[in-house]
Symmetry: C2
C-alpha cells in the first residue's frame, strides 16, 4: 500500500521545473562562473537581489537573499532576541518552526487567536496596553500555514498602524502569496507601511523548488548592517552557485510560467481533496476551502488527532496534528492536510483510508 502523504508542505515531484533549472544553471555558468564560484556578498547574489527587488517593488540594496527564508528568520530572531530576550507575538495556530526558532533565541512567545479575518488585533492591542508589547509580530498573511486563510486588508492596516505607534517589527512571511487560484489579492503590509516597520519575506521553495534553498527578506534600512554582519559571520556568503541558477531562471521569465503551471494544478488538488472530504467525512470535518497555497485545515469534532496520527501514519496517510501549531495544549481536534504533493487521483483513496480509522 503506497503512502499518500498529507504531511509535508512540499511541491509535488512531478511539477518540478527540472529542464528549466538545468538550462538556467548552464547559462549562469556561461555568463558569470567567477561571480558564482568565488565568495560573494553576505547580502546575497546581486543579480538575484536585483530581480527580486524589481518584482516585489523594492530597492535591491535592501534585498537580503539567504539559503531559504527559514535561515533568514533565524538570523533575525538572533539579531532581535539573543542575549537580550523580549517578546514575540504569533498567530494561534502558526508555523511550528517559527515558534521553535523564536524560543531558541530567547524570545517569550505570546500567541493570539487567528480569527477568520486574521490575528485577533483587539487581543494584541489589549496586551500592548497591559505592557506586553512585542518586539516582533510574526504573520503569515496569505494562505496561512496551517490554517489556509487570508488576513483581510482591515486587519493588515491595523497591524501596520500598531507597529508604527508602538515601534515593533512585523514579519510578513509570504511564501504562498503567488499561489492564489481564486479570489483577489490583498495589499501587502509592506506596501501599507509608511513607518518602515515591516520585514517582508519571500521564498522560492514553493514556487520553484526547495532544494535550491533560496529565500529573501526585504529589509528596512535599520536592520541591513546587522543582518549582513551575522550572515557574514555564519556562512560568509550564501550559496551563490544555486542562487545564480535561480536568477537566470527568473530572468528568463520561467518564474511566472512556473506559477501559471502550478496554480491550476494546486487548485485541482484542492478540489479533489474537498470532494473526498465531503464524501468520506461529511459533517464530522469542519473546514474552509482555501483560495490558494498548500494547506487545508480543519476540525475533526471529538477526535484526538494526536492519537490518530500514529494510526494514520501506519495506514500510509500521514498528516500534521493540529497541536503542533500552538504554543499551548490547543488544537488536539484539528489537523493540517497538505494537498500540494498529492495527485488528484489519489485524494479519494487517501481520505477514505483516514475516514476508516475514525
Amino acid at each position: 500500500m503506497a503512502t499518500i502523504s498529507f504531511a509535508r508542505g512540499v511541491p509535488s515531484a512531478d511539477l518540478l521545473p527540472v529542464d528549466e533549472l538545468k538550462s538556467a544553471i548552464a547559462r549562469a555558468m556561461d555568463k558569470d562562473a567567477t561571480g558564482m564560484l568565488l565568495y560573494g556578498d553576505p547580502m546575497g547574489y546581486m543579480p538575484l537581489r536585483t530581480w527580486i527587488g524589481d518584482r516585489w517593488g523594492f530597492d535591491a540594496a535592501g534585498v537580503f537573499v539567504t539559503n531559504g527564508s527559514l535561515q533568514a528568520f533565524a538570523f533575525l530572531a538572533e539579531v532581535l532576541f539573543a542575549g537580550s530576550g523580549g517578546r514575540a507575538a504569533v498567530e494561534a495556530p502558526t508555523y511550528d518552526r517559527t515558534i521553535l526558532t523564536l524560543k531558541r533565541f530567547g524570545a517569550t512567545v505570546d500567541a493570539y487567536p487567528l480569527l477568520e479575518d486574521g490575528i485577533d488585533v483587539d487581543a494584541l492591542e489589549a496586551a500592548i496596553k497591559a505592557g506586553k508589547t512585542p518586539g516582533l509580530v510574526y504573520i503569515i498573511p496569505n494562505f496561512q500555514n496551517p490554517a489556509g486563510n487570508v488576513t483581510t486588508l482591515a486587519v493588515r492596516q491595523r497591524l501596520v498602524d500598531l507597529a508604527a505607534e508602538h515601534g515593533f517589527w512585523i514579519f510578513e512571511d509570504d511564501p504562498y502569496g503567488d499561489l492564489r487560484f481564486s479570489g483577489n489579492d490583498v495589499a501587502r503590509m509592506v506596501d501599507l507601511d509608511t513607518a518602515g516597520r515591516v520585514i517582508y519575506s519571500t521564498s522560492f521553495t514553493k514556487t520553484i523548488a526547495p532544494g535550491i534553498r533560496a529565500g529573501a527578506l526585504l529589509l528596512p534600512e535599520e536592520l541591513r548592517k546587522k543582518m549582513a554582519y551575522i550572515a557574514n559571520q555564519t556562512y560568509i556568503g550564501a550559496v551563490h552557485f544555486a542562487h545564480a541558477a535561480v536568477a537566470e531562471y527568473c530572468a528568463a521569465g520561467e518564474f511566472d510560467k512556473g506559477l501559471d503551471r502550478a496554480r491550476p494544478q494546486l487548485e485541482a488538488r484542492k478540489d479533489a481533496l474537498v470532494a473526498a472530504l465531503d464524501t468520506h467525512l461529511g459533517d464530522r470535518f469542519t473546514y474552509r476551502a482555501p483560495e490558494g497555497g498548500y494547506f487545508l485545515w480543519g476540525k475533526l469534532e471529538g477526535v484526538d488527532c494526536d492519537a490518530l496520527l500514529p494510526k494514520a501514519t501506519e495506514a500510509g496517510v500521514p498528516f500534521v496534528k493540529g497541536s503542533d501549531f500552538f504554543v499551548d495544549d490547543s488544537g488536539k481536534d484539528h489537523l493540517r492536510l497538505a494537498f500540494s504533493a498529492v495527485k488528484p487521483e489519489e485524494m479519494d483513496e487517501g481520505i477514505a483510508r483516514l475516514a476508516q480509522l475514525l
Copy 2:
C-alpha cells in the same frame, strides 16, 4: 594601479574548475533531479556524504554536510555553548571568525600561544589543572590560519590524550590539509583518537570553489542528533542543488585532479612571494615559509601593522593585520599574506609596493 590583494584566503579565479563543475551539475540533474530539488536530509545530501566518508575514512552516517564549514562550526558552537556558556580554547593566533563565533554563542575564549610545534600544550594542561577546563579546543593542524605552520604528531597525540582524560571536544579544522606542496603529511587527530572526542572538519572552499559553499564535519555519534536537529530548525536541509554538483564532480575523479593542478600553482606562488620578501624586505621581515596552504605569516620588526594597513590598502596591496587573529592586544607587529590569489608574476610588484610604505 591594479590591486594586488594579499588579504583574502580565496582561490585564484584563474584556477577555478569552471568546465568541470558545469559538466558535473548537468550530470547531477540528469541522474537525480528530484533528490536535489526537493527538501533533503538535515545531515546533508547523501551521495556527497558517502563520497566524503569513503575519502576521509568515516562512516557516512556521521558525515554532516553543510553550507560551508563555518556554518557547521556555528551550529556546533550553539549546541555546546548557547544558554549554558563554558570555555573554549584556541591557538594564539587563530582564525578570526572562530573567536567571534565562539563569543557570539556565549563561550569564554582562552587563547594559548601557538608554538613552532603547535598549541602550547603545557600551558593548556596547566590551565586545566587550575580549573579552566575547556568544553572545546579549536585547532587548525595543517598550514594554520594565519600562521601557516603544522602541528607535530607529538602535540596532536598529547591533545587527543588530554581530551580523552578531561572529556573535552577537539575541533580539528582542516580546510588546507590536502594542499601540501612539500614535506610529509602528519596523522590526523581524528585517527589518533580512540575516545571519540575529535570532530574533524573538512571544506571544499579551498579545494573546489567557495561559491558552492560545501563543508563537512565528521561527527562523533553523541553529537549527531543535536546537530541534525539544529540544522533542521535553521534551514531544513542544506543546499542539495549545489552539493549534488560537488558529489558528481568528486565521483568523477575531478577532486584529485583539481588538487594535482592546484598544488604546484600554490607552491609557485609561495616561492615567488618568498623571493619577493627576501628581495624587498630582507631582515626586516621574519617568517617561516609554509609547506602548504594559502598563507604566509610574519613579523615586521618595529612596525605597527594596524597603522600600516590603511596605507597598504590605499597602495593597492591589502593584507590582514596580525592583531585580528588574537583575543588580546597581541600581534600588532605581525601580518598575514595570502598568496593563493596572487599570480607569481605580480608578487614582486606587490611586495615592492608594501616595502615602499615602511
